[in-house]
Symmetry: C2
Subunit: 226 residues, 2 copies
Amino acid sequence: MAWTATNSEGYAAPAALATDVVVLTVRDAGLLALTVGRDGGAERALPGGFVGAGERPLDTALRKLHEKTGLQAPYIEQLGAFADPDRDPRGWIPSIAYLALVPADTEVPDASARWMRARQPAPLAFDHEHVLAAAVERLEGKLWWSNITVGMLPGPFALSDARRVYEAIAQARYDPATFGRDLKATGLIEATGEQRAAGPGRPAAMYRFTSNRPTWGAGRRKRIAA
Amino acid sequence: MAWTATNSEGYAAPAALATDVVVLTVRDAGLLALTVGRDGGAERALPGGFVGAGERPLDTALRKLHEKTGLQAPYIEQLGAFADPDRDPRGWIPSIAYLALVPADTEVPDASARWMRARQPAPLAFDHEHVLAAAVERLEGKLWWSNITVGMLPGPFALSDARRVYEAIAQARYDPATFGRDLKATGLIEATGEQRAAGPGRPAAMYRFTSNRPTWGAGRRKRIAA
DNA sequence: GTAATAGTGTCTTTTAGACACTATAGC
DNA sequence: GCTATAGTGTCTAAAAGACACTATTAC
């Protein structure tokens, strides 16, 4: 039996407001998305939940993200609303989707959680394949113009770490020299002054993003206000 | 008294789902937004309304747009959800915002409707100043990378018409020769073969966008998949 | 020493900006 | 003819791509 709701004016109202969170990371040169199992559903789904009365949807998303990944403040931004009337068989339940990026070594406490290839997912419940596709497209589009990867590269990182992340997202190979020059040219990262020696080879200089809030870089979006 | 709603599971639910539409156009070298008056409210607001049960929010937005402007199919895209709990004094009413672009000569049948400067609006109701700012930012960001201006330039247009629209949005001056070269290079427009003679001067060749659905152009977003 | 990874310098190609010049209309 | 608008060609500047070369570590 489908859920329904009626408001104090006597008209039909949404039965609930949901959030869904697309959690992405890069591991082994591949882009992965986090999915969870559902009670009484064969297909897996994106993590998410209902927005409580008086709660900001972003806080709902952050809360769910913390429950699944233990992370407090990675990169997160709103993807948009998915609210077509038949998207949820339980009833009229609009969803606000968020995109969150987390580091590759994130441990997932939730027992039912699995990482899945983001570009060729297994069938997902609701409209979640749609949501996931929108998330991947958003990530690809903002890759070189924003600090969106700060969620995957939070701490001090070497330029080669960053390059592997960018290559997995763009599905391209970058020349190491050109990559470093262009990433520095965005103005979004700064040297920490540290070095990291891991195995053989010259130790790498470490960098960090100057902000972990969503920010645009110096990418050439054709001079606005010359 | 605030509106409330309870769903069939016994929990609080949103009192309604709203859409707001930011309608933008360029007139006299300025970017303008459409606002309407409200019953019992001093401040003006963006056009919008409640999503009916079983209705797609996009259809609600298109319906409202048609009521206010008489237009059927301009450029429209979702801006995002605005759903903080205190955004509407009437109660818990999330809103899905849309960005629509219309030609400069659009006649507005709604008697209370007025065009307002989009970048320095008078105070607006609810969180509508926020929504409007997000719309302007979206438009600026996509200007050179998409066919977003097809709503403002629907029919056959001269390159000089397009240049005036782009200059008003970017708040910049473009060299006519370079402008034409770069707009053609996006691959989003095509020549109609017609010419337009208006007053003195050589007649202008006419162009049109090849699609009026949201589309990305050949703008250099750093070679994805080289 | 060799192998492995990090980083610099510079040449070439592509894209964007500036601007001189030509073309076609009304008067 | 003059003025106004449209359109072409080309030089310069800036950004991106390719790649040779140097630097520092483990062994």
